[in-house]
């Protein structure tokens, strides 16, 4: 019993929970200011996400890519790199998966894995370009990776337009059935919600993240380089190689995310009229999750619920989309700003110490 209480009063648990509550409170004030009923709005959000099998399935669909991009950002962060390029790595992952899915005809057991692998490697290579420039030329990875996002976006549209888009269309041909990773029976159980194997792969990727980061020598080196590159170099580690490696693995995650989105959700690639946004949301997810794999999954779930449930708030409570973004942003703000929340947590922690 005492143990259970100890878990729930632990700072690592309390801080995010209180942050979410504070965020929702500020959001409620914003909605009140706009003349809307926040209780109705939050009920609508919960109802939207958990109210029907279809919407619950679609929420899972929304969460999946966020896990991938969240892992990508978190992995780089652990090694002292700020990968803002998850967006671009996600996009090249989409392109590679579409290419393999449309251009090749293979049996299913090899086609889908190959398409995902192609997406992973494309994302990894795209990320390692920023890593290479950082390692060899000292170019800040924030700048290169953000620029690589735009290169990826326009490159993707060019590749699609030149090779895969039929005339008068705005999307590529369908990928072959053998490359599709939609789980048809589960999808039918969820009223045609677009569920796919990518979700399982995302969880496996989180485990892979944990194992490689904390259970292997590679991970030890990566973390050491992240904590102090000079000391690592002095200890005989190859810092440059580790930077490239970190960006490659980081890109792998985002690339698989892009591939899963194509093979599981859309089954074709549309000409992108805007950045898909998952890469940027991934930064928030990684921050919420404290850059740990389990934290990223939880962060993605929170973020996915908020952004998917937003439509429910609009639909039922009539709150304008702009105001809903304020609510979401205030939750993220408080989760990311640990310092502010700790002020609120302190009395609880003190009480606990007094009690013991």
């Amino acid at each position: 019993m005492n143990k259970a209480i100890a878990v729930f009063t632990k700072e690592s648990f309390l801080v995010p929970v209180i942050a979410i509550i504070l965020g929702l409170l500020v959001g409620a004030i914003a909605m009140l200011a706009g003349g809307f009923n926040p209780i109705l709005a939050y009920t609508a959000l919960v109802e939207k996400v958990f109210g029907s099998a279809y919407n619950f399935g679609e929420t899972i669909r929304q969460i999946t890519p966020l896990i991938f991009t969240g892992l990508a950002v978190a992995f780089a962060f652990r090694t002292g790199l700020f990968n803002i390029g998850a967006e671009g790595q996600f996009i090249v992952g989409m392109v590679a998966a579409t290419t393999v899915g449309v251009a090749f005809e293979l049996p299913a057991f090899i086609h889908a894995p190959l398409a995902i692998l192609a997406g992973a490697i494309a994302g990894g290579l795209w990320g390692s370009v920023a890593g290479y420039l950082k390692a060899k030329r000292g170019v800040n990875e924030v700048i290169t990776s953000i620029m690589m996002n735009w290169i990826a976006l326009y490159l993707a549209n060019w590749v699609m337009n030149s090779f895969f888009v039929p005339k008068g269309q705005q999307r590529s041909e369908m990928v072959h059935d053998s490359a599709i990773i939609t789980i048809t029976w589960l999808s039918q159980m969820f009223d045609n919600a677009r569920l796919h194997w990518g979700t399982l792969i995302a969880v496996l990727a989180a485990i892979f993240f944990y194992v490689i980061m904390w259970k292997t020598r590679t991970g030890y080196e990566l973390r050491a380089v992240g904590l102090n590159p000079h000391a690592s170099e002095y200890a005989g580690m190859n810092v440059n190689r580790n930077v490239i490696k970190a960006m490659f693995i980081s890109g792998l995650f985002a690339g698989i995310g892009g591939a899963a989105e194509i093979l599981g959700v859309f089954h074709y690639q549309a000409i992108l009229t805007a950045q898909p946004g998952y890469g940027f949301d991934g930064i928030a997810v990684a921050l919420i999750g404290g850059n740990t794999p389990i934290g990223v999954i939880l962060g993605a779930i929170l973020f996915g619920i908020l952004s998917f449930g937003a439509a429910g708030i609009k639909f039922t409570a009539g709150v304008p989309v702009e105001l809903i973004r304020v609510v979401i942003a205030s939750v993220i703000f408080f989760v990311a700003a640990h310092g502010i929340v700790k002020v609120f947590v302190k009395p609880i922690l003190k009480k606990k110490e007094g009690g013991n």
Binding site: L32, G35, E58, Q170, P276, A311
Partner: protein
């Protein structure tokens, strides 16, 4: 620290009390309209319970363009038929992945008609229509082949032809520009119609064309406009949704520096948004009319699923804004009317692809 906290908490509390007051105030009229709808059920409006929803594309409902126009059509429908406030609604899409769940939300909730606004929604609307064969859907700007979908398309090329005539006649530099959003069949119709109009009115006028690739990026529109004005054009016609806001912005900047430049608006009468000093005229696409008409048909039980409707100059689906008289001289407008008549009669065939 403690003092600050207590002050803050008191402030928040009082603020929330104040705001709670506002909140309940705005709720009251909502209830009233609900009652009004109920009591006036016997009045002329035949189906006071009809519900019509729409899903915007990524441009959003305040895009100063066709999403907004569609929403205005639905609001007009609501006032015309005296429907309760909640009976028309829209959902905004923030990415491609949102289209299907947003459309499904209306369909599963049993709304009488669900609109998809925009070409980009075609495949997604088809999926939802196939999965829910008993629902009724309609789409603007795309052909969807399903028995429960009515597709409404516009002959943008015909309206744009007239805009081209105005541009050619009014250009002093003999160069005009076109800024497109994404290069899709709809926008291609704008471009080709505009160019045909320019060349018909004055073959010596040059047309500079740029596709930005976005419908929701004013900054891209601004830089495209800057490029075109920079090459010596003095009139730009845009067909780029929210991206076009940037075209107006650039035009206004240059105008305030004394350059004699104009912008031709699109979809709605954009002089109402951006002002007469910069808006030469607008190629109005009556999305609102179409949304209003088809929705009303559905309420009256005259839904034509599987049908593809084309609206052109003859049907008043497209045309120049009424406010054109402010900036366009009468002789040019007369010429426009002549061309319009020829197109309606079929004497001029405007290229569409």
């Amino acid at each position: 620290m403690k003092k600050v906290l207590s002050v803050l908490s008191v402030a928040t509390l009082s603020l929330s009390l104040l705001l709670a007051g506002c909140g309940s105030k705005t709720e009251a009229p909502q209830g009233q309209t609900g009652n009004a709808g109920g009591t006036e059920g016997a009045a002329p409006a035949p189906a006071a319970t009809a519900r019509v929803g729409m899903v915007t594309d990524v441009g959003g409902v305040n895009d100063n363009s066709f999403n907004q126009s569609a929403w205005e059509g639905l609001q007009k429908l609501r006032t015309d038929l005296n429907l309760p406030e909640g009976n028309v609604n829209f959902l905004q899409s923030t990415s491609d992945a949102d289209y299907v769940p947003n459309l499904t939300q209306f369909v599963k909730d049993g709304w009488d008609l669900t609109w998809g606004i925009g070409f980009l929604m075609g495949d997604h609307l088809k999926k939802v229509a196939d999965e829910n064969p008993n629902s009724k859907l309609a789409i603007i700007d795309a052909e969807v082949d399903a028995p429960n979908v009515e597709s409404v398309l516009f002959k943008e090329h015909e309206g744009s032809f007239l805009a081209g005539v105005v541009a050619a006649k009014m250009s002093k530099t003999k160069k005009v520009g076109f800024v497109g959003g994404v290069e899709i069949p709809v926008i291609k119709r704008f471009e080709l119609g505009f160019e045909a109009g320019v060349k018909a009115a004055d073959p010596s006028v040059e047309v500079i064309k740029i596709y930005t690739g976005f419908f929701d990026k004013p900054d891209e529109g601004k830089s495209a406009a800057s490029q075109i004005y920079g090459q010596g054009a003095d009139i730009i016609f845009h067909a780029a949704g929210g991206t076009g806001d940037g075209v107006f912005n650039e035009g206004k900047n240059r105008k305030s520096k004394g350059e004699d430049v104009w912008v031709i608006g699109v979809d709605k009468d954009q002089s109402l948004t951006f002002g007469d000093d910069i808006t030469l005229t607008s190629m109005v696409k009556r999305v609102d009319e179409a949304v209003h008409r088809v929705s009303k048909d559905v309420i009256d039980g005259k839904f034509e699923g599987g049908k593809i409707v084309w609206l052109g100059l003859a049907e008043d689906g497209v045309g120049l804004a009424d406010t054109s008289t402010k900036n366009v001289p009468a002789d040019v407008l007369k010429l426009v009317d002549e061309y319009k008549e020829k197109i309606v009669k079929g004497e001029i065939k405007v290229p569409a692809e």
